[in-house]
């Protein structure tokens, strides 16, 4: 089966090169991209299904947040309680990134004005 596939690909490459007239570079590029897609499709097939409660992302940490979040933080929006209470330092870093970005933009755009 494998040899038949390789034989088919070779014949197809010869067909493309000499009958259709595609360059050898393009044929090699197409085959390389096909190989990458072939291996990536394995990775996609291994991915867990969306919303399955047995996914590896759904371990004890979200369970803890869902159970104790409203009583520990007082917010019924669990996402809000995670990003501004449990992981508030992370959000502070995000705000700092925004601040540095806007400072860089203003410094760049206004530097040649005065």
């Amino acid at each position: 089966m494998f040899y038949i596939l390789i034989l088919f690909l070779l014949i197809f490459a010869l067909f493309l090169r000499f009958i259709v007239g595609v360059e050898l570079r393009s044929i090699l590029t197409i085959y390389l991209l096909g190989l990458i897609v072939y291996f990536f499709s394995f990775a996609v097939a291994e991915m867990p299904t969306f919303g399955n409660p047995h996914n590896p992302a759904f371990n004890e940490v979200p369970e803890r947040y869902l159970e104790a979040g409203p009583s520990e933080t007082g917010a019924i929006n669990i996402i809000s309680s995670v990003i501004t209470d449990y992981r508030a330092f992370d959000t502070l870093g995000e705000a700092t990134v925004l601040f540095v970005a806007i400072a860089a933009v203003v410094a760049t755009l206004k530097s040649h004005r005065d």
Binding site: G74, I76, A88, L92, L98, I102, K110
Partner: protein, 151 residues
Amino acid sequence: MMDDQIVRITSRLVAPFIQLYGIYIILHGHLSPGGGFSGGAIFGASLVLIALSFNLEAGIKQISHQTASVLESGGALGFALTGLVAIAFGGNYLANRSAGFPLGEAGQFFSSGAILVITVFVGIKVASTITTLFYNIIEKEEPLGNHKQTD
């Protein structure tokens, strides 16, 4: 920038509702989906809409450069100071319940202690960031020079 009457009247009608929606999203960040980033982005987009449909002067009348920079720094500074207040109350940095912020009853508006304060500061920061970015890119060289001289 754009001299079209339909666009001007439509955006004048729509902009207050967008701003109200943005403020609602910011203030109800602990109750419903949304929060500082979403609400701030919506509020900043409404200010950008005003500046785009009228002209830059109308946008600057809404929020001037000075106000924008004060809000910009004040948002980040207030966020950091909220963490320091938690330390002063005897908790860790940015702690909420362990520092003694009043949590209230879950589901009410005045609940969740420091989360509401932090969300408001993040919303102010994001809105002023978007506005400052747009004004700085869109404005030309000469009007700002005149603006500075009149100041």
